[in-house]
């Protein structure tokens, strides 16, 4: 029961702030709402017993990436001239398409008469106490099964670093 309360609470926050993020004029506001969404997601991670990811989400996402975003927003001084029209002119078209997508996904559900939450997806999940300690398990997985992705991720980050440096450095 508590589980559901926690879930619905965080889910509500996540969706609401995501919606707000998309609709705010001010980029900084948007960024702040994104942070809220990410934090809510972190909560859901916790609810799902993914403690390590919860930490990563807060430290890396909220602490790292979003700071970067805000930093850039400041850098490009977009707070000064607020967007006059914050939706671009094709918003109706785009909105329509997105709506159609949502509708189709919904239709897919209805068509199959299997709304999410029903059917065999509600397999009894493994009991929380039977789960191994999350960080350890993840670490083991990362350094055994997913050793190679781990290495590739390092290359990826290297690329990102090099790229960011090249792109952002002042012209010579």
């Amino acid at each position: 029961m508590l589980d559901s309360v926690i879930f619905y609470f965080f889910a509500a926050i996540a969706i609401a702030s995501a919606a707000l993020m998309v609709t705010r004029r001010n980029a900084i506001h948007s960024a702040v709402f994104l942070i809220t969404t990410l934090l809510a997601t972190a909560g859901i991670f916790l609810q799902l017993r993914a403690e390590f990811l919860f930490a990563v989400q807060i430290i890396l996402y909220v602490g790292g990436i979003m700071v970067l975003f805000i930093f850039v927003i400041m850098l490009v001084r977009l707070d000064a001239p607020l967007e006059k029209v914050h939706f671009s002119y094709q918003r109706w078209v785009a909105g329509l398409v997105a709506f159609a997508l949502a509708l189709e996904v919904g239709a897919t559900f209805v068509l199959l008469r299997r709304l999410p939450g029903q059917g065999s997806l509600v397999l009894r999940a493994a009991a929380a106490d039977k789960l191994p300690p999350n960080s350890e398990a993840l670490a083991e997985s990362l350094f055994s099964n997913y050793l190679l992705p781990f290495e590739i991720a390092s290359v990826l980050l290297l690329v990102a670093m090099v790229g960011a440096v090249i792109m952002a450095k002042k012209r010579t």
Partner: protein
């Protein structure tokens, strides 16, 4: 000391072998990044040489892999009781070295080498001769190789992202160029969006399969789900959603209609060698990925998506050809034409039989060299003070540089699919596959699209051959460019005149 060497050797003969070429590339890429600091402004060419050496080293690594693969396959054929031989597996079966990887990796390496050759003078002209450029090229190549060799969703995704991120940066490498900036930004945003969609699909696939990330396990479990009556349909919508999102992500990468719109803009804005690289290598790598996913994971549901694929293919053919008809920017024109080529390759997937798959590989092989060649000609046009990507910049190329004009003709013929060029052979296999799988109408459609294609390719030829040169100077062609051009032309012609080895290669890639 000796033991360290020993362990390295052990590693190289074990898991290490499966990522040997990537490791070598990485080593050289890092080397370039470091070495770059030591080089004076006028010595930057060494970066390129280092990069080429890296490619060569990777080539040797690839060759070693090939040797081992051949040996193992021989062993497996002598011991059929041990089950089908999937290739050299490594890293907890997240990666495989098989024919497909070997051939595609060879293609990537060749493309990378050619692009490096083409870049040297181009970067000089743009005054952007920097080590990072070559390093990023190699990084991109690493990413593509992982895309081709990964049999785990995570490896594939990370490989894709490595490649994509390198390309975003490379596209925007000419930071002073507005077009380059804009292209990079568009590419990044759209690419990021599509990657996110792809990731969403992967996550669904992970769920639908019951917690697997290896594609073979996923395939196995999906097959079981589909055949067991009990749990039927439950995950169907998940699979569908997964398929749709994955397909959308990959269609974006290969620039198939309607996910193609980034291509012309990015092609136009990016530095031309990078354009060539994107249009060639990125597309080929994404096809490798598509091929793996579609044949392994979604192979069982082929009948359900074949019409979808056909629709996308026809749409790509139509859109690409139509838009190219009146295009005057060479790079955009080739972008549109590459969209139509995607259509042909997808038709191979529609057929889906052995000939079709061979056709895909052959077509991509041909496509790489002929498109690189075509872009190489555009790169040659880039001279001091001339951007050289408008069709009129070609005027009188024949008088100015007959060799380039002749090669351009070869590339255009090949792109159009006129024998005896590689492009024709590629189309040949695709058509053959369509006929074999009883898709005559598709075949007729595809065949007739050669006609408009020829029209716009020959617009280019007309400018190069028939139109009088204006006051344009004789283009200076560097030796490196000449080598690249010649190699591209040689392969394009050789694969058309004597297709046998290339056919074998394609066969090798697909396996028995």
């Amino acid at each position: 000391m000796h033991s360290i060497l020993n362990s390295i050797l052990n590693y190289v003969h074990g898991d290490g072998l499966t990522i040997l070429p990537q490791m070598e590339l990485l080593l050289f890429a890092l080397g370039i990044l470091i070495f770059d600091f030591l080089l004076a402004e006028n010595e930057k060419h060494w970066n390129a040489i280092l990069a080429l050496m890296g490619v060569a080293a990777a080539g040797i690594g690839l060759f070693m892999q090939g040797q081992r693969f051949a040996a193992d396959i021989g062993y497996a054929s002598e011991h059929p009781d041990q089950g089908a031989f999937p290739g050299l597996l490594g890293f907890h079966e997240t990666i495989v070295v098989d024919g497909l990887f070997l051939v595609f990796a060879a293609i990537f390496l060749a493309a990378t080498a050619l692009v490096i050759l083409l870049s040297i003078r181009y970067l000089d002209l743009e005054a952007e001769q920097q080590g990072e450029y070559y390093a990023l090229l190699l990084f991109a190549c690493i990413g593509m190789m992982f895309m081709a060799s990964g049999i785990d969703l995570i490896v594939q995704f990370l490989g894709l992202e490595t490649m994509a991120l390198s390309f975003y940066v490379l596209t925007g490498f000419l930071r002073r160029e507005k077009r380059s900036n804009e292209a990079a930004l568009k590419y990044l945003l759209l690419g990021g969006f599509s990657s996110a969609i792809l990731a969403y699909g992967f996550s669904l696939l992970y769920g639908a399969s019951g917690g697997f990330t290896g594609i073979r396990e996923i395939a196995y479990s999906l097959d079981r789900r589909m055949t067991t009556t009990d749990a039927h349909g439950v995950t169907d919508w998940l699979v569908i959603l997964a398929f749709v999102t994955i397909a959308a992500g990959l269609f974006f990468k290969i620039a198939a209609v309607p996910f193609h719109q980034w291509a012309p803009d990015v092609y136009e804005g990016a530095p031309t060698p990078i354009t060539a690289y994107i249009s060639v290598a990125s597309k080929t790598a994404s096809f490798a990925l598509l091929l793996r996913l579609m044949t392994v994971v979604f192979g069982g549901s082929q009948p359900t998506w074949v019409f979808l694929m056909a629709g996308v293919a026809i749409a790509s053919l139509t859109w690409g050809n139509l838009a190219a008809l009146t295009q005057n920017n060479l790079k955009r024109l080739l972008a549109y034409s590459s969209i139509s080529h995607v259509g042909y390759v997808l038709l191979g997937l529609v057929a889906g039989n052995l000939t079709g798959l061979i056709g895909i590989v052959y077509y991509l092989l041909a496509y790489v060299f002929m498109t690189l060649g075509a872009f190489a000609t555009i790169i040659i046009l880039r001279q001091r003070g001339i951007i050289g990507d408008e069709i009129s910049d070609l005027d009188g190329l024949y008088q100015r540089s007959p060799y380039a004009a002749v090669l351009l003709l070869v590339f255009m013929l090949s792109l159009a699919g006129i024998p005896p060029t590689a492009g024709f052979m590629g189309k040949y296999f695709i058509f053959q596959a369509l006929i074999e799988t009883h898709h005559p109408v598709l075949a007729i459609f595809a065949a007739l699209y050669i006609v408009p294609a020829l029209y716009y390719y020959f617009r280019i030829v007309v400018h190069a051959w028939v139109k009088r040169p204006g006051d344009a100077a004789v283009p200076l062609i560097s030796d490196a460019q000449l080598v690249a051009l010649t190699v591209a032309a040689f392969v394009t012609l050789a694969a058309g005149l004597y297709p046998e080895p290339f056919t074998r290669l394609a066969h090798y890639a697909i396996g028995p």
